[in-house]
């Protein structure tokens, strides 16, 4: 170790660390010479736990993989089970699923806005973002009965139909958000100081992004139009009018702007969902959970979560439990491969900046 080098442990107990992750940095002055991400603080062995519980019992379990956005995890597991068991999902359920996916994406982006702004020291937009997210959680509570972990998707549809007046409440919220976005623009996204802080930071080239397995904003931030919702539509996304926002620069600023544009897209998709919502049943009956056996087989399903591709490799050996499940989470690659690379040569002040622009969420890495 050179004379002026210091070893700095960033996290897990740190105001700038969102989630429970630790990064050890070798620093000289303010510059980071090398970084090593040290995950595992949240490892519960989900995939092993799933092997001990039957197909339905796993639903309350899997949603806890990601505390910030639990919907894609439920969705991906429900889709995998449906695929293995050959269940058709009613159309209305597909639409409701699309809706709840987008609501969840919005709430995740609000959380990210809170985290990002509070790390950079913007107190005001941070507080606003968290406040606005709560209206969304109220809607979730109305719909599913819970704020964070909804357990709303089931194999064969969703647990129950929309409550009365839900569409109007959602529309009112969407209008409110639409009116609030200019406020966020002027205080956060188009703030000159934020531009100074974020542009040119954490730059990644498209080739590197593909090579290292980036998905989501990492790809879209450097100009690659890649979105599972468009590439391989699931739920009712094939009926939706959806644009994939991209930016060319590949730095933290462009990734954040992609997130902003996605929020606008989510608002538009939610409006389309309400407009096109068909009537009908929302649930296809499945066998008794305790006796339910799913035929032998394997599948890989994937959805576009707020952070990138979320996939599940599920293997059944014909029993009443999964034989093996393996989640492919976006943060695993972003946090363990790309983050380490981008931190090299960066400033200490930008650790949180880079980490959050990559949207790294610790429980997803550890599972």
């Amino acid at each position: 170790m050179a004379e002026r080098e210091l070893e700095l442990i960033f996290g897990p107990q740190h105001l700038g660390m969102i989630g429970n992750l630790s990064i050890s940095l070798n620093v000289e002055g303010d510059t980071i010479l090398s970084a090593r991400v040290n995950p595992g603080y949240l490892h519960r062995g989900f995939e092993k736990l799933m092997e001990y519980r039957n197909w339905i019992q796993n639903f309350p379990l899997v949603c806890r993989i990601n505390m910030i956005e639990s919907e894609p995890v439920e969705m991906v597991y429900a889709m995998a089970v449906e695929d293995l068991a050959g269940i058709e999902v009613p159309e209305r359920a597909q639409y409701i699923r699309t809706m709840i996916q987008e609501m969840s994406r919005l709430s995740c982006h609000f959380t990210a806005a809170w985290a990002y702004t509070s790390i950079l020291g913007f107190d005001t937009p941070a507080q606003w973002a968290m406040g606005d997210r709560d209206y969304l959680l109220d809607l979730f509570e109305d719909l599913t009965g819970a704020r964070v972990y909804h357990i709303y998707n089931m194999p064969g549809g969703v647990r129950r139909d929309l409550p009365e007046g839900f569409e109007d409440k959602l529309l009112a919220f969407l209008d409110a958000i639409h009116n609030r976005l200019p406020d966020y623009n002027s205080t956060f996204f188009e703030n000159r100081l934020f531009y100074e802080r974020a542009s040119g930071i954490g730059k990644i080239s498209p080739e590197d992004a593909i090579e290292m397995g980036g998905t989501g904003q990492v790809l879209r931030g450097c100009g690659i139009k890649h979105d599972i919702r468009k590439l391989e539509p699931y739920a009712a996304y094939s009926d939706m009018d959806l644009e994939v926002p991209t930016r060319e620069a590949g730095d933290a600023y462009s990734r954040v702007l992609v997130i902003r544009d996605e929020m606008v897209q989510s608002v538009s998709i939610l409006k389309q969902c309400i407009e096109k919502m068909p009537s009908g049943k929302v649930y296809e009956k499945t066998p008794n959970p305790f006796k339910w056996k799913i035929p032998k087989g394997e599948t890989y399903v994937r959805v576009e979560s707020a952070r990138g591709e979320f996939g599940l490799y599920l293997v059944s050996n014909g029993g009443n439990r999964p034989y093996r499940a393996h989640f492919k989470t976006p943060s695993f690659v972003h946090g363990l491969v790309i983050l380490e690379r981008l931190l090299k040569g960066a400033n200490i002040a930008d650790v949180g900046n880079i980490m959050l622009s990559l949207y790294v969420i610790a429980p997803e890495i550890d599972r």
Binding site: Q13, I18, G19, N20, R44, G45, W114, A126, V148
Partner: protein, 188 residues
């Protein structure tokens, strides 16, 4: 501030100071932490009651342990807890630190947090709502008032028990004991 409160302030400023200025360690131990930002920000605004997050454990006196605790996190929790200035209070948040909750058969999470560090209060539920945090904090106020929130004294007096359990789980620990390991000694 009404009159009763004023009298209390004059009588026991120390107790009242500890009550109305609970500075929480910012440590996102686990998933429960997702309900902490709403509590701290504009909708629920815990700063009204003097609860703010601080950067280092040296400055903090409230430790919210939010959710399940893996063995790796437990090490960090113990280190953080031992660095805090006395008097210090801990609240276990969510079902998982109480008895393992959802992860009762997971190989990497500890099941009972109070076997390793003293816990003053529990907030049950998965996830507990933000209101539950307020109820927890007000209960803690009551306990401070009555002198029941004595986890840190218990830790000092029965340090051999806690350290023993910690060593049993980790095998070896990288840092020396905080207090002397002889029973019942007060390390002032």
């Amino acid at each position: 501030m009404d009159r009763n409160n004023l009298i209390k302030w004059l009588k026991e400023p120390k107790k009242m100071g500890n009550k109305y200025s609970l500075w929480a360690v910012y440590f996102s131990t686990a998933c429960g932490v997702i309900e902490v930002p709403p509590v701290l920000t504009s909708r629920w605004d815990a700063e009204r009651f003097g609860v703010i997050p601080v950067a280092t454990p040296r400055q903090a006196n409230l430790f919210l342990i939010t959710g399940y605790v893996t063995t790796k996190t437990l090490k960090a929790i113990i280190r953080t807890y031992e660095q805090m200035a006395e008097p210090k209070y801990t609240i276990g948040f969510g079902s998982c630190p109480i008895n393992g909750g959802m992860y009762w058969d997971s190989y990497n999470t500890i099941k009972h947090l109070d076997k390793f560090i003293p816990v003053d209060g529990w907030i049950a539920g998965c996830m507990p709502r933000p209101e539950a945090i307020f109820i927890g904090v007000t209960k803690l106020w009551g306990m401070i008032d009555k002198g029941l929130a004595t986890g840190y004294i218990r830790y000092r007096e029965h340090y051999d028990y806690y350290r023993g359990n910690q060593e049993r789980l980790f095998g070896s620990m990288e840092w020396p004991p905080l207090y002397s390991l002889k029973e019942g000694t007060h390390d002032e």
